[in-house]
Amino acid sequence: MLTGTTIGFASFLYLLLLFAVAYFGDKRADAGRSIIANPTIYALSLAVFCTTWTYYGSVGRAASSGLGFVPIFLGPTLVVALWWFVMLKMVRIGKANRITSIADFIASRYGKSHLLGGLVTVIAVLGVIPYIALQLKAVSSSFTILTFYPAIVMPAKVDSVPWLADTTLYIALIMAAFTILFGTRHLDATERHEGLVAAVAFESVVKLVIFMAVGLYVTFGIFDGFGDLFSRAAQHADLQGLMHMGAGGNGYGNWFALTLLSMLAVMFLPRQFQVAVVENVNENHLRRAIWLFPLYLLLINIFVLPIALGGQMLFAGQSVDADTFVLTLPMAHGHGWLALLVFIGGLSAASGMVIVETIALSTMVCNDLVMPLLLRYRWLALQGQEDLSGVLLGIRRGAIVLILLLGYLYFRLAGEAHALVSIGLISFAAVAQFAPAMLGGMYWRGGTRSGALAGLSGGFAVWLYTLLLPSFAKSGWLPGDFLQNGLWGFELLRPQELFGLQGLDPMANGLFWSLLANIGGYICVSLMRRPNAAEAGQATLFVDVFKQGGPSGGALWRGSAQVGDLLPLIGRIIGPERARSVFADYARSRGVASVDVLPADAGLVHFAEATLAGAIGSASARVMVASVVKEEPLGLDEVMNILDEASQVRAYSKRLEEKSLELEAATRELRGANDRLKELDRLKDDFMSSVTHELRTPLTSIRAFSEMLLEDPKIDLEDRKRFLGIIVSETERLTRLVNQVLDMAKIESGHAEWHNGEINLVEIIEQAVASTSQLFKDKGVALEMNLPASVPTLLADRDRLVQVMLNLLSNAVKFVERGKGRVAVTLAQTAEGMRVDVRDNGPGLTPEEQLIVFEKFRQGGNTMTDKPQGTGLGLPISRQIVEHYGGRLWVESAPGEGATFSFLMPCGKSAETPDEAG
C-alpha cells in the first residue's frame, strides 16, 4: 500500500513545495516586499532548533527517562528571557560589523584573527556533522519502517541497501541542491537569505502541526484523554518509575547540566546563530520572539509524554524502538495516511535543520578556512583583475555538498552505533565551547586572542577526550579499555570520571571539565598580557556597541588609500556592478556627487573593509584591504589615546547633557517659585485693600457723626447721645478689627503668644456659652448642649480656645432666624481626638460658600445687600488656632438645612506643641 515509490514521491512533492515557498520568499524580497519581515516568522525560523532529535528523539528519551527530555527545551525557554540584553547586543554587533557566522564573530572580536576563525570552524564542523548524520538517519529509518506498512518492522541493517539505491542519499542531495539554490544565489554583503528563512518557517509550522496531530490522536483517539492515559500507565510497574525524577539516570545534577547545556546550545549552534543573528531583519522582532519561540517549544513537547507512555503500553513486549513511536503508533492502528504525514513532518524537521546548518557551516568553511589559505599562498593576489565572486560561490557550493556528503558518510558508517544515538547532546557540548569567547568578548574588554585560543582549544580537547572519544569507544571504533582504566592506565584519566570526579553522569562530567578548561584558559591567558592595539580596538567596537557616539571602526585606521584601488578590489569579490552601486550609495550618504571624488580617508577604508567582511569574513577582508592601501600601524598607546579621546568626548557630552537637564529642572523650580511669589504678592495686595476697606467703613461713620456734632451745636441731647453711642460702638468695632488683624498677622507669622495650660473643653464650652447667653436670649434662640460628664484634659491656650468657641457660637446666632433658631453644641471623644460640633438651623451654605467662609474678610450671607455683621476674620483666625494645635476646623452644610461647624482637637498631641510663650 505504501511502497517506497509512493513515499519517495510524497517526499519529493513536499520538497518541491519547499522550493516553491523559498522561491516565493526570494521573489518577494527582490520586489522589496519581504514576507519574513515580521516577528512571528522570525520566531518560527528560530524553531529550527527542533530537529528530528526533538521530533522522534524526545519521545525516545521520555520512554526511558520520563521527564529527561524536558531540560533540553526548558533551558532555551529560560535563557530566552535574557535575550532582551544578550541577543539584542549580539544582533547589534553583528549588523554593525557585518558578522556572518560565529567563527567570524569570534575572529573579528579578537583582532580579526584567521587562526581563531579557523579553530572555531573546525570545532563547529566536527561537532555538527554527526548531528547532520543524525537527521539523515532519522529520515532513513522512518522511511524504511514506513515501507513495511502495515507490518511494524524495525530496520535491522541500513547498509543492506546499496548506496546508490538508498533514498536517503537522494534526499540529502535534494537538500544540498536546495541549500545551494537558495543559500548561495549571490555573494551578498549581508548574507541574508529570505527565501530560505521563509522555507524554514514553513517547515516549523509543518512539523508542529503534524506532531500535535499525532499527539492528539494518541491521547484522545487511542486513549481517552490525559487522565485515562496516565492512570493506565500508572498501573504498569515499569512505567511508574517514569513519573519520577531519577528515571533512566535523570538525576538533579544531570537535569541542571542539561538545562545549562541547552541554554548555551540555543545561542551558539551555528544554525541558531544563522537564523537569530545573521538572518534577523529587524532587531525589534526579538521582542515577540522572546515569548513566541518558547511557546513553540512548549507546544511541540506537550504530547511527548503521552506518546511515549502510550507507545510503551501498546508495544509492551515487542521490540519496537521508542524513537519510532511517533511513526509506529499510527501505523499500528491502521492509519497509513497519518503515518505518511508523520514521515513528512520528520522530513521537514530534518531538512530545516540540515539546510540552515549547512549554509552556516559553508559560510564558515569558505570565509574562515579556505579564504585564509588562499590568501596565505598569494593565490588571490596573483590572479589580477579576475572576478572572484564566482570562485567564492563555487567554494561555498562545494562546501555545502561536501558537508552533506560527510554527514551521509558518517551516517552510513556509524549506522546504529552509539556514536550516532548520543550525538545530539555531544554536539550541544561542542558548540557550548563557543560561549566563553562569545559572551566574554561581548562584555569584557580584557579578553585577548591568545586567551580565546587557549580557552577554545582547551575546552575542545577536553570535549574530545571526555565526550567524543568515549562515544567512539562505545561504538567499537576505539579500544574501550581507556574508558575503564584511563589513558595509559592512569585511573585519574578515566574520561567519564575525569580526575576522580564521581557522581556525575558522563555528559555532566564532560560539560563541567570542558567548560572549566575553557573558561579557565580564556581568563587566565587573557590576563597574562594587556590587549594589543587590534584587540583593544575591536573590544571597544563590540563591548560598547550600544553607546552613542562611540568610535567608529574608521577612527582606528591611519594611512593612505586610493578609491581606484579599493573599488576594483571590492568588485573582484562581490562583482563590479554591485561594487559600484554600494560605493555610489556610500558616496551619497557622505554627500558627495560621484564615486570618483570620494575622499579616500579612513571612513572609506572602513566602509570597504566592512563590505568585504560581509562577503568573505572580517579576517580575510582585513588582509585583502591591507594589500591595496598603505597603512601606518597604530601602536597600543595610540589606539588607547583614540579610544580615551572618544570616551572622553562621550563622557563630556554626557556631562553636558546632565548639566542641561539640571538647568532645565532649576528653571522649572524657579518659575514655580516666581509664580508662588506673584500669588503671595497678589494676596498681600488683596489683604491690604480688604483691610483698608474694612477700616474705612467705621471711620466714615465716626467722622460723619463727629462732624455733625461739631458743626451743629443745636442738636438736642437725645440725638447727641445717640450719635455718641454710634461713635463709641464704631470705635469698638475699629479696635476689634485692628486687634484681629494684628492677631491674624501674629499667628500667621508664628509670633503669636500661646499661654498653654491644662484645659478642659467642657469648661471652655460652658464659659463661651455663658458669655454669649445674652445674645441667645436677645434673639430668642434655643441652645442645646450635649456634653459628656468627664473628658480628658488638653494642653492648650485657654483664651484662644474660648475665642474659637465664641466665634462659632456668635456665628450660629447671627445666621439663624429670630425666634425660631436652634443651636446645638456637641462634644464627643473620637479616635482622633476631641470633637466639637456647633449645629444651627440657619439658611445653610452652598458648596462654594463653604469654601469662601474660611477666607479672610469673606462673610456668610450676601455682602452686597446685607449689612456686614462681623469683621470677616473670625473663622480664619479660629482655623489658624485649631490648626496650631494639630487639629482641623471644617463645615458641613447644605443650603436650607443649616450648617454644622466642627473642630477636632487631637488628644496628647497638643502637649508636644512648644510653649512659645516660654
Partner: protein, 63 residues
C-alpha cells in the same frame, strides 16, 4: 529607553525565578506519588511552570 531597561530587568528576574522553580531542591518537593487532575504531580508541575514562565514573558513584553 528607561522603560525598555525595566522590561529587561523584569525578564532577568523571571529567568532567575524560573531557574529556581525547575531545579533542585524545589523540584524535589513535587517528586511525589500523587496525581493532580489525572496527571502525575511532577509532570503537571514542570509543564505548569513552563507555561507560566511563557505567559509572564508575554505579559512583561506586550503589556
Amino acid at each position: 529607553m528607561i522603560k525598555a531597561t525595566l522590561t529587561g530587568q523584569r525578564l532577568v528576574a523571571l529567568f532567575l525565578l524560573g531557574w529556581v522553580l525547575v531545579n533542585y531542591p524545589i523540584l524535589s518537593v513535587f517528586d511525589v506519588d500523587r496525581v493532580w487532575l489525572g496527571i502525575p504531580a511532577i509532570y503537571l508541575y514542570v509543564f505548569g511552570v513552563w507555561a507560566a514562565v511563557i505567559a509572564l514573558m508575554a505579559w512583561i513584553i506586550e503589556r
